[in-house]
């Protein structure tokens, strides 16, 4: 039972079917003149439209990238490069506002910029994981060139008030970038209504292929590219177009768009059942992050007295595949920066479990999953010096 869909999600067989012709006979380079190239170009256009529809953008506002990470990097670094040309000693144009709970793709890009003299405001969040709009507005100054705040969080699933964030940004004429990698296909994402100027998304989180994503850039906002070359993507992102993957992203976007209502209901039913059963059956278990402003497919629970990795490994033995915090955090041993921002002590945050639901999960599986978790937590607490049996 795979409940780690926020880390990556299985490719929808319909999506693979759509890709296969482009992996086989339709191998043309979209830049070439003859029919293979023309077919590739048409496939590209169709996919661009499918992605645009999903977030209520225009087709030519979509740039294909190699994934969410590249999209986030492009958004931030392109703004920086653009402003470099306008900077003066009096106006260094070197301030960016973000939050403490961003994905590493945003956070580490910001940290990198700090090494080169940029000032970053990392907004704190409240115990629910939400930023404070007053604090955001207060953080803005004359040198602020970008506000980058994620649409929803990849660990605890908290949804930020993008509409209001965008309003504040626009009051001060600052572009607003939102990393919507976890939101797209899970909740309504509408760049117009939610006042988003730049948005990142990634295919492999919505049952599309890995290695492909998109960046939405609002018409009128021209940004220098992060990757220069042959002039593909209207010179906004060069490199031979990855047609099979682009077709896959398009198809995944189309499916996600068509099924959004259904998906939300499906996910929420399972989520609520999991939360209800786990918290009632396991003493000293607590939900991390807002219950109200939360992705319908995210369950994030901490259990006192135990540690996350051993929990995950034991659960995997029982056939339940889940995550501790973010998929990325296994690269480093520090506790989750998101839970730290929620003021949860390291010893407690380490006992956290993320279940992220996908279309393949079924309501009938909830009891099996809950039983596996209950047994495992009980076992680990038995051998834990921090738990009073």
């Amino acid at each position: 039972m795979y409940v780690d869909n926020s880390a990556t999600s299985p490719l929808n067989p319909q999506v693979l079917d759509a890709m296969i012709p482009y992996l086989k006979e339709e191998y043309g380079n979209a830049s070439t003149l003859y029919f293979l190239g023309i077919k590739a170009k048409r496939a590209l256009q169709k996919a661009r439209h499918q992605v645009a529809q999903l977030i209520n953008a225009e087709d030519d506002e979509i740039i294909f990238t190699s994934g969410g990470t590249e999209s986030d990097n492009t958004a931030i670094k392109s703004i920086v490069l653009k402003q470099l040309k306008h900077k003066t000693p009096e106006n260094p144009k070197n301030h960016i506002i973000t939050t403490q709970i961003e994905h590493p793709a945003v956070l580490n890009t910001c940290k990198f910029l700090e090494e080169y003299g940029y000032e970053i405001t990392y907004l704190p969040v409240d115990k629910d994981g939400l930023i404070n709009l007053k604090q955001l507005e207060n953080a803005i100054n004359e040198q602020t060139i970008l506000i980058t705040i994620m649409h929803s969080n990849n660990e605890i699933g908290t949804i930020q008030p993008t509409k209001q964030i965008g309003e504040i940004a626009h009051k001060y004429n600052i572009p607003f970038h939102s990393d919507a990698v976890q939101s797209v296909g899970k909740i309504p994402v509408d760049v117009k209504e939610q006042n988003i100027d730049i948005l990142s998304l990634s295919a492999h989180k919505i049952n599309g292929p890995k290695g492909i994503g998109a960046l939405y850039v609002k018409k009128g906002l021209t940004l220098p590219p992060l990757i220069h070359g042959g002039g593909q993507e209207n010179s906004k992102r060069s490199g031979t177009e990855n047609i099979p993957a682009i077709v896959g992203l398009g198809k995944a976007a189309e499916i996600a768009h068509e099924n959004l209502e259904k998906t939300m209901k499906h996910n929420q039913q399972i989520r609520d059942a999991l939360i209800e059963k786990i918290t009632t059956q396991i003493p000293d278990s607590y939900i991390n992050g807002s219950l109200k402003h939360r992705l319908p497919n995210n369950v994030h629970i901490r259990f006192s007295g135990i540690e996350g990795e051993s929990l995950i490994l034991k659960l995997a033995q029982k056939g339940v595949y889940a995550a501790t915090g973010s998929a990325c955090s296994t690269h480093n041993l520090q506790g989750s920066h998101v839970l730290a921002a929620l003021q949860i002590k390291p010893a407690l945050s380490h006992g956290s479990l993320r279940l992220s639901i996908g279309p393949e999960n079924r309501l009938e599986d909830v009891d099996y999953i809950v039983d596996a978790i209950v047994e495992t937590v009980e076992y680990l607490r038995e051998i834990s010096p921090l738990w009073d049996n």
């Binding site: 007295g305 540690e307 051993s310 490994l313 041993l333 506790g335 051998i383 010096p385």
Partner: protein
Amino acid sequence: MDYTQKVIENYTNPQNTGVIEDADGEGTVGNPVCGDIMTIYIKVDENENIEDIKFSTFGCGAAIATSSMITQMAKGINIDEAYEITRNDVAEELGGLPAVKLHCSNLAADALQKAIENYKKERN
């Protein structure tokens, strides 16, 4: 590197878990970075051999595996010999540990040494 088969066996099915209520020695170590904590309990016979040893651990797969491994290595041997077991010995016995875990969760040797020191102090 990934967890070896030996590591996997030891966290899947750890040996000597639990508490010795009337222990002769007890040692607890913790790592401040992420809060791993492990306690080792020993029971020592008249020849100063470790006749029983148990552990409780709050920590990752590696933390559980090293705890389990050291209890097996120390059981039945003399406390002076047991005192000489190093973190490296434990890691080696497990067929190696991932680099990031080597210095972090490999605390069992320290906990055992503390337990032996505690035993000696109590006895004096």
